[in-house]
Amino acid sequence: MADSISTKPEEFTTVIGPDAQFKGELTFQGAVRVDGQFEGSIQTSGKVFVSKGGKLKAEVKSGSVALEGQVDGNLTADDRVELRATAQLRGDVRAAKLLVVEGASFVGRCEVGPNLGAPGAPATRPADGVARPAAPPVAAARH
């Protein structure tokens, strides 16, 4: 996977600083970088970047998401979700593309495919014709 989400500081119009705690709804256009703590929901057509020290307890709907910090919550991205080596995610991902780098941890449900992260698609609706697997969690496969 050659391309990756650019997270240069100058690209972010909104920054939640390392000492900041933010609770609420964030709806805007453009890119947000979370270095501090955020609780609530984020909605943007741009990108969301949670840096190494950042903590998010939120529902996120965005163009793309890059994670280096901790997230508790569901992520919906029109394009791509990137979990970098230090990332910890507990929640569900729905996106067109997903990358989980070695070292990152992700526990949750995942719906990824070219038609699954499409703009306008309701975030919570399961993919058409795709049922949840009837099988119990993976642990069962180890016996």
Binding site: M1, R80, L83, Q88, A96, K97, L98, L99, V100, V101, E102, G103, A104, S105, F106, V107, G108, R109, C110, E111, V112, G113, P114, N115, L116, A127, V130, P133, A135, P137, V138, A139, A140, A141, R142, H143
Partner: protein, 147 residues
């Protein structure tokens, strides 16, 4: 003879095997463990499909099974619960449904996956225990048994 350190695909306990061996009997649980790398290019429907080595499901491969491998690459169709001790790579041509457990995951743009995931270094037993570690554990076990 080069030795490879593996984990039994059934009981997860460490085994040392000849690098060229195609299978080995686990001395812990007495299960026959496949140890050769697999390239799957056909239709496979079994309850459990496991190797203590790499597995690649090619574009022609269609697998309905619980899969266990040291590293897994999917280019074809896979339906079932997956455990990979290291990486799971889902290529753009792949269609995967089930649950994934592994140390790392990459889904190429274009790939389709629906299911539960548990990804991270702590989600899988350690792939290659050091000989020292295994010997130390065995020594400790012997010592404990001796008392």
């Amino acid at each position: 003879m080069a030795v490879r350190h593996i984990l039994c695909t059934q009981c997860d306990l460490p085994l040392d095997v000849d690098e060229t061996a195609k299978s080995v009997n686990c001395r812990h649980c007495n299960t026959r463990v496949i140890t050769e790398a697999m390239v799957v290019a056909e239709y496979v429907a079994v309850r459990r499909f496991a190797t203590a080595n790499r597995m690649r499901i090619t574009k022609k491969g269609i697998v309905y099974a619980a899969v266990r491998a040291d590293a897994l690459e999917v280019e074809g169709v896979l339906q079932g619960d997956v455990v990979s001790l290291s990486s799971i790579r889902i290529a753009k041509s792949a269609q995967v449904k089930g649950s994934l457990r592994g140390a790392s995951l990459s889904l190429e743009p274009g790939a389709t996956f629906v299911g539960d995931v548990a990804i991270g270094p702590e989600q899988v037993p350690r792939a290659e225990p050091t000989v020292d570690g295994a010997l130390a554990r065995e020594a400790a076990a012997r010592e404990a048994a001796g008392r």
